[in-house]
C-alpha cells in the first residue's frame, strides 16, 4: 500500500464544456507522482476532454486544475510545458518535415527564441528516438510513414519534452499488437526507471487493467469508479459504465483482471 | 411562406425596383431632362432630337445593360459555385475579365476599334482556356489565369499606353459611356442563357449532393459539369464584355438568394438573376451620381461601378465566409 503523497496534478470541482454542451461536471481527481493512471469510458464520456483540461489545452468553465499545487492556467505556458507533455489524438504532420524535425519540436520549451542556432538534435531527441525505435527513420519525412510509425513520432516528441508528467490520448491507436505492447512496456519502464507520472486515455480495458496502476472510469462527465484494476474491472462497474454484461477472469500471465463480454 | 411563393414575390419586387431604377437612370444626368420630356421620347412623340439621343442612345441602354449584365453575372455565379460546390467562386475573378481587357488592348494595338467585339472575343477566349485548363479546379485555375492575362495586358500597356483608360473599364467594371450598340449585342444572350441555366437546375441539384449521389440518381455527371461550366463561362463573358469584370455581383447575389430561398437551383437561378440585375443597376446609379460632380470624372473614366460593388460586397463576403466556417 502506497503512502498518500501530495498530488502532482489535481482537478478540483472541474467543469469543462463547449459552447452549449457541458462535458465534465464538478469532477475531482488527484494524480499521484510516479503512477500510471488509465482513463476509460464509453465514447462521449469526456475522458479526452478531461485529459485536455488537465493539459491546459482546454480552459475549464468551472473549478481549477492544479499543477504542483498552483492553478495550471496561472503558470507560464512554457513552464507548464517543462513539467507536462501531451500526446494528442490526431496531431498534424507538417508537410515535408522529417521525423527528427518533428521530434525536435519537443525541445521547444527548453530552448530560447534563437534555438535555431543549435547544431542539431540534442541528446534528449536522440534518446526519444531510441526509446521509440525510430533511429532508422530519423531522416524520413513523416508524410511517408505508416500510421503506427507516425504515432511513435508523436510519442517521441512528447518524450523529448523531458517532462515528469506525460498525458497520452489513446496512444495505442493505429499501432499493431507488437507496438502496442512495446509502448505499454515503455510506459511502465518510464515510471519505474525515471519515476515519471503517466495519465492516458485507453479504449482497451484489458490493456488498461494489465498495465495501469489505477483505472478511472468515466461516464457522462462523471467518475463512476476509481481504483486499482482489481477494484474497477468488475462486472458491476462494466455494466454501469459500458452497459455490457461481462465475465471477469484473471489473466493467467499477469494475474491482473481481464474481461470477456458475454 | 413556401419557398416558391417567396421566390415569386422576390422576383416581382426586384422587377418593381428595376422599374424604379430605370426611371431614376433616365432622369439623372448632366443634361437636365424633365420626366415629361423622357416620357415623350419613350412613347415616340418627341421631336426634340437631343433628348432622343440622350435617352435612347445613352441613358436607357446604360440601365438596361446594368440590369442585364447584373443578371447574367449573378446567374453565372450560381452555376460556377454549383460546379465547384464552393459558394466563394466568382465569375468576375475567373480570368474572363482579364481576357476581355486583353482583347481590347490587343485589338487597339492592332488598329481595330470595335472594342465590344474585341472584349467579347477576349472574354470567350479566356473562357475557353479556362474550360481546357481548369477542369479539375475551375475556380482557382480561373484566378491564376486571370493573373497571367492581367500581367500580359499590363505588359502590352507598357509598350503602348494609349488604350489604358478604355481598358480600365473592363478590368474593374464600368458602365460609363456605354451605348445602344452594346445593348443590341447583349440582349440575344439575355433571352437564351437564363433559360438554359434554368433547364440545368435539376442536374445541379443532384450534383450538389456529391458525385456518387448524382451518379446513382442517374445524372450524367461529366456532361453536367461541362455543360454547366460552358453556360457559366459564356454568361460571364457576354456580361463582362458589356460591363467589365464587376466584382462581387456574382458572389453577393447568389449568397443573398440562398439565404432567402434555399439551395434549390430551380428557385436560385431566377432569384439570383433578379437580385443581380437590381444590384448592378443600383450600384451603377450610385457610381454615376457620385461621379457626376467629381472634377476628374469624365464619361469614360468616371467612377467605375466595380468600385461601388466592391465596397458593398466586402462586408457580405466576410459574413459569407464566417458562416461557411461554422
Amino acid at each position: 500500500m502506497k503512502v498518500p503523497t501530495e498530488p502532482v496534478l489535481r482537478a478540483r470541482a472541474l467543469g469543462v464544456g463547449y459552447r452549449d454542451r457541458q462535458v465534465i461536471h464538478a469532477l475531482d481527481l488527484r494524480i499521484e507522482p510516479g503512477s500510471v493512471t488509465a482513463l476509460v469510458g464509453p465514447n462521449g464520456s469526456g475522458k479526452s476532454t478531461l485529459l485536455h483540461a488537465l493539459a491546459r489545452v482546454l480552459t475549464p468553465t468551472d473549478g481549477v486544475v492544479e499543477l504542483d499545487g498552483t492553478p495550471i492556467t496561472s503558470q507560464r505556458s512554457v513552464a507548464v510545458a517543462r513539467r507536462l507533455a501531451l500526446l494528442p489524438q490526431s496531431a498534424l504532420a507538417p508537410p515535408g518535415a522529417t521525423v527528427t524535425e518533428v521530434v525536435d519540436q519537443g525541445r521547444y520549451p527548453r530552448t530560447g527564441a534563437l534555438g535555431m542556432l543549435r547544431r542539431g538534435p540534442d541528446d534528449a531527441v536522440r534518446e526519444a528516438l531510441g526509446l521509440t525505435g525510430l533511429e532508422d527513420l530519423a531522416r524520413t519525412p513523416v508524410a511517408q510513414l505508416s500510421g503506427g510509425q507516425r504515432q511513435r513520432v508523436w510519442i517521441a516528441m512528447a518524450l523529448a519534452q523531458q517532462t515528469d508528467l506525460l498525458l497520452l490520448d489513446e496512444p495505442t491507436t493505429y499501432l499493431d499488437v507488437r507496438h502496442q505492447l512495446d509502448l505499454m512496456e515503455l510506459v511502465v519502464r518510464l515510471r519505474d526507471e525515471q519515476g515519471k507520472t503517466i495519465v492516458m486515455v485507453l479504449h482497451d480495458l484489458n490493456q488498461a487493467a494489465r498495465h495501469a496502476d489505477r483505472i478511472v472510469a468515466l461516464r457522462d462527465g462523471r467518475i463512476l469508479a476509481d481504483g486499482p484494476p482489481a477494484e474497477v474491472l468488475t462486472p458491476r462497474v462494466l455494466h454501469e459504465v459500458f452497459d455490457i454484461d461481462a465475465l471477469v477472469l484473471t489473466d493467467p500471465v499477469t494475474s491482473r483482471p481481464m474481461f470477456v463480454a458475454r | 411562406m413556401s419557398r416558391l411563393l417567396r421566390a415569386v414575390l422576390l422576383v416581382l419586387s426586384a422587377a418593381s425596383v428595376a422599374v424604379g431604377l430605370v426611371a431614376a437612370h433616365l432622369l439623372v444626368g448632366r443634361s437636365e431632362l424633365s420626366a415629361g420630356e423622357v416620357v415623350e421620347v419613350l412613347t415616340g412623340r418627341s421631336d426634340h432630337g437631343a433628348a432622343r439621343v440622350i435617352v435612347l442612345r445613352y441613358r436607357l441602354p446604360r440601365v438596361l445593360l446594368g440590369l442585364g449584365a447584373g443578371a447574367l453575372l449573378a446567374m453565372s455565379g450560381v452555376l460556377v459555385q454549383a460546379v465547384v460546390r464552393n459558394p466563394l467562386a466568382e465569375p468576375a475573378t475567373t480570368g474572363v475579365g482579364s481576357g476581355a481587357a486583353l482583347g481590347v488592348v490587343a485589338a487597339t494595338m492592332l488598329g481595330f476599334h470595335a472594342t465590344y467585339a474585341a472584349a467579347l472575343v477576349g472574354a470567350l477566349g479566356a473562357g475557353l482556356l479556362l474550360l481546357l485548363l481548369g477542369r479539375r479546379s475551375p475556380a482557382v485555375a480561373g484566378i491564376l489565369l486571370g493573373a497571367v492575362l492581367a500581367a500580359v495586358t499590363a505588359l502590352l500597356l507598357v509598350v503602348d499606353s494609349s488604350p489604358t483608360s478604355s481598358v480600365m473599364r473592363w478590368l474593374v467594371g464600368s458602365l460609363n459611356a456605354r451605348t445602344a450598340g452594346d445593348w443590341s449585342a447583349l440582349w440575344p444572350w439575355l433571352a437564351t442563357l437564363p433559360v438554359a441555366a434554368w433547364l440545368l437546375a435539376p442536374w445541379m441539384n443532384a450534383w450538389a449532393l456529391g458525385a456518387a449521389q448524382a451518379i446513382s440518381l442517374g445524372v450524367p455527371v461529366r456532361t453536367t459539369r461541362v455543360v454547366v461550366l460552358v453556360v457559366a463561362v459564356v454568361a460571364a463573358a457576354v456580361a463582362i464584355a458589356a460591363a467589365g469584370a464587376v466584382a462581387f455581383v456574382g458572389l453577393v447575389a447568389p449568397h443573398v438568394a440562398r439565404l432567402l430561398v434555399g439551395s434549390d437551383h430551380r428557385l436560385l437561378v431566377p432569384v439570383s438573376a433578379a437580385l443581380g440585375a437590381v444590384l448592378l443597376a443600383g450600384s451603377d446609379l450610385i457610381a454615376f451620381s457620385v461621379g457626376i460632380d467629381l472634377p476628374g470624372a469624365r464619361d469614360v473614366a468616371g467612377v467605375p461601378v466595380g468600385a461601388v460593388t466592391a465596397l458593398l460586397g466586402a462586408p457580405v463576403l466576410v459574413h459569407l465566409v464566417r458562416k461557411e466556417l461554422r
Binding site: Y108 | N86, S137, L325
Partner: protein, 329 residues
Amino acid sequence: MYRSLVVAAGAAALLAAALLTSLAVGAATLSPPELLLALTDPQHPVHVSALHVRLPRALLGAVAGAGLAAAGVLLQDALGNPVAGPELLGVSSGAAVVAATATVLHLPVPLQVLPLLSLAGALAAGLVVVLAVGPGSGPGASTRVVLVGAAVTAACGGVVVAVIGLGTEGDVVLLMRYLLGSLSARGWNDLAVVALGVVPALLAALLLTRSVAALRLGDHVATGLGVSVARVRLMALLVASLAAATVAAICGPVAYVALLAPHVARAAAGTTSTPLVLLVAAPVGSTLLVVADLASRTAFYPVEVPVGIATTLVGVPLLALLTLRGRPA
C-alpha cells in the same frame, strides 16, 4: 542544418552577383572597375545615375525582397497554408489602396508615415481574409485563401483604379506601381523608409520562428509545448503585414515574391523547418526581386516594365502547381 547554411551562403553570393549586375547594367553598361569609379568619383559622367538611381534601386529590391520573403515564411507556417502570402491574403493590395490614395490625392502625409498608414490598410484586408479563412489547413483551406484573397484583391484593385482615375486621369506610372508593383523612380529616401519597416520585421520574424514552427504541428500540440497559439499567430500576421505593407507603400503590391521565396528555399535547403527556411528565404527573396527588376528594366529597353509583371509571370505557374496538384498530406 549545414546544408541550409551552405544554401543560405550560396543565395547570399547570388544576391551579391545580382546586385553587381544590376548596378553595372543600364543606359550605360559599366565594367566592375568603371562601376567603382562611377560610384566614388563625383566627376564621373554616370556618377549621379550610379549613386542615386541604380544603387538605391538595387538595394531597395534586396531589402524589399527579403521583407516579402520573411512575410511569406511567417504567414505560410503560422496559418499552416502553403499558399498564404501577402499578395494572396489581400495584405499587399490593402496597403496599396492606402498608399495610392495618399499619393494620388496629395494627402499631407510625410513619406516616413506612409508605411504606417498602409499598415492599417494591410491589416484590415489581411484580417478580413484570415478571419474568413480561419486557421485550418489542407487543400480546402488553400482554395479558400485563393478565392477570398482574390475577391478582396479585386475589391482593392477597383478602389485603386477609381482613386487614380479621379486624381490624375489615368496616370499610367502610378497605376502600374499601385496595381502591379514597381521599383522605378525610387531613391535613397524610399530605401530608408522600406528599411525602417523591413529590418525590424526581419528581426521579429527571426525571434518568432521557433514558436511559429511549433504551430505547424497543430494547435493542441503547440499549446502542449507551451506556445500561446493565438498570440503567436497574431504576432506572425502583424510582423508579416508590417513587412508587406512597408514594401507595398513604396513599391506597390509586388506579387509572388513572398509566395515563391519560401518554396524555393524549402526545395533548395531540403528542409521545412521554419527557422532554416527563413534563413534561406530572405536572400532568395532579395535575389528574386533584384533579378526580376533587372529583367523588367532591360527586357524591353528603353521601355520599363513594372517588376510585378515579371514576378507574376514566374509566380503563377508555381502557385498553380501548389494548389491544383494534390499536395502530400
